[in-house]
């Protein structure tokens, strides 16, 4: 068992230091690059927090949808083949819901400020 602090706590501490202490001191193109770097660290902390739960739910949906067992990547490849061949399409019960949920879970990690994501999240909360 590894000791504390956790990876999330370490990355957060570094990101906060860069954001609060270093970013105000940096100008020009390096300021832009620093912002990209801080965004990357923030993305990693979101992934560490969310990935386990969303991967498990995605795997369960894929097993149901395909009636197959396998790893997440194997079942995603199988789904891709079925969509490409036309065997599965938007009329297939559960496909649209699965793609929406999987995509929302990706955006929650990659880009939670993306306007399309915020709009769709609002629909879920209102609905």
């Amino acid at each position: 068992m590894q000791d504390e602090p956790t990876p999330t706590e370490l990355i957060k501490a570094v990101a906060d230091f860069l954001r609060n202490e270093i970013a105000p001191e940096i100008k020009g193109h390096n300021a832009f690059k620093l912002r990209v770097g801080i965004n990357a660290l923030d993305l990693v902390t979101r992934q560490l927090a969310l990935e386990q739960g969303s991967d498990a739910a995605e795997l369960a949906r894929l097993k149901r949808l395909l009636g197959l067992d396998g790893s997440l990547i194997e079942l995603n490849r199988a789904l891709c083949e079925k969509i490409a061949s036309g065997e599965v399409d938007l009329n297939t019960p559960g496909l649209a819901e699965h793609l929406w949920q999987t995509t929302m879970d990706k955006l929650a990690v990659d880009q939670p400020n993306y306007a399309s994501y915020k709009r769709e999240l609002g629909k879920l909360l209102d609905g």
Binding site: K33, I83, L90, A96, L99, Y117, E120, K123
Partner: protein, 328 residues
């Protein structure tokens, strides 16, 4: 020093020029660079831009039209009265600057967030979509006989190219599969009319002033094809920068864009434009994945490329919004 080379070059074709000053690289990969500089002249300095492949970089990669073609297209657009910089000089071997051209520098803004938010563009925003419709119609109407040799594309070829590239990543993306299937099923076939297509008509390649559009830049992806492609590409959500209810670049409506386009006597096919918007959304998503590939394999091991790879999911949600919209 590039200023010495540019000074000698400019003196050979610009009467009275005594040299250049303030040369600075604006952007550049390994094969293509853009420089800004001022031509020093007794009547006052003149702003100029150098676009070149440095010596040793001959051929242009893959889809690129090539710098010689770019120069011809910009000059043709300028001569037709479209917002385009005047090409001042096409580089010759004697210039020892590589291949490329020097053009007039046009002042203005290309950064979308500023164009969409800054007060100085408040009067431009409501007129831009219509203006750009007229401009893109002008580009599509440029005299065919004078156009340089370029690749010819069709929807069928574009789908095949995108599919080949996506498969080369060997990473399953069910939403991209759905989009490819959707596009194949709705492929409208060869366009009745084949025209010059700019190929990258969007924020970043348009110089905007408080008065509206001042220049169309970056003809690197120009080709012959379906004119509706350009109208679809500028509506892709990735170029709305958060203003998702204004489909044209985050500042205007499709109706305004189409009205401007049709003022010139050309016709819009809205269904075809929508088809190209889906294609464009997928295309940008696959380009993001390509950035990730180059980050992993190539010499450019930069955070920026890596993080652009994580933006392909943005196009997945936009594809779902187009192909499987939810209520609410």
């Amino acid at each position: 020093m590039i200023e010495d080379q540019l000074g000698r070059c400019v003196a050979s074709w610009y009467p009275g020029a005594t040299g250049v000053t303030g040369a600075a690289k604006l952007s550049g990969g390994a094969s293509q660079e853009t420089w800004t500089f001022d031509i020093v002249h007794p009547d006052g300095n003149v702003g100029a831009i150098l676009r070149r492949a440095p010596p040793g970089y001959g051929a242009s990669p893959g889809r690129a039209a090539g710098l010689d073609a770019e120069a011809i297209l910009m000059q043709l657009a300028h001569d037709a009265g479209l917002p385009s910089p005047r090409v001042m000089h096409v580089l010759t071997p004697e210039d020892e600057l590589g291949r490329g051209f020097i053009m007039q520098r046009i002042e203005g803004e290309t950064i979308a967030r500023k164009i969409l938010r800054d007060e100085q563009f408040a009067k431009a925003r409501p007129i831009l979509a219509r203006q750009l419709g007229r401009v893109i119609a002008g580009i599509h109407g440029l005299p065919k006989a004078k156009l340089p040799k370029m690749r010819e594309m069709s929807a069928t070829k574009e789908i095949a190219d995108l599919e080949r590239e996506y498969r080369s990543f060997n990473w399953p993306r069910p939403v991209f599969e759905l989009a490819l299937r959707w596009l194949r099923e709705r492929d409208p076939g060869p366009s009745k009319e084949v025209t010059l297509v700019h190929g990258d008509f969007r924020h970043g390649n348009l110089i905007i002033g408080p008065d509206g559009v001042r220049a169309v830049l970056d003809w690197e992806l120009a080709h012959f094809g379906d004119p509706m492609e350009d109208l679809g590409w500028i509506c892709v959500n990735s170029w709305r920068f958060g203003e998702i209810d204004k489909p044209v670049g985050g500042f205007g409506t499709r109706e305004e864009l189409f009205a401007g386009y049709e003022e010139t006597g050309r016709k819009v096919d809205p269904a075809r434009v929508m088809f190209w918007e889906v294609m464009g959304t997928l295309r940008w998503g696959i380009m993001c994945c390509g950035m990730m590939q180059r980050f992993r394999q190539g010499p450019d091991h930069s955070m920026e490329r890596a993080m652009i790879g994580r933006r392909s999911s943005e196009t997945e949600i936009d594809l779902l919004r187009l192909l499987a919209p939810r209520g609410g």
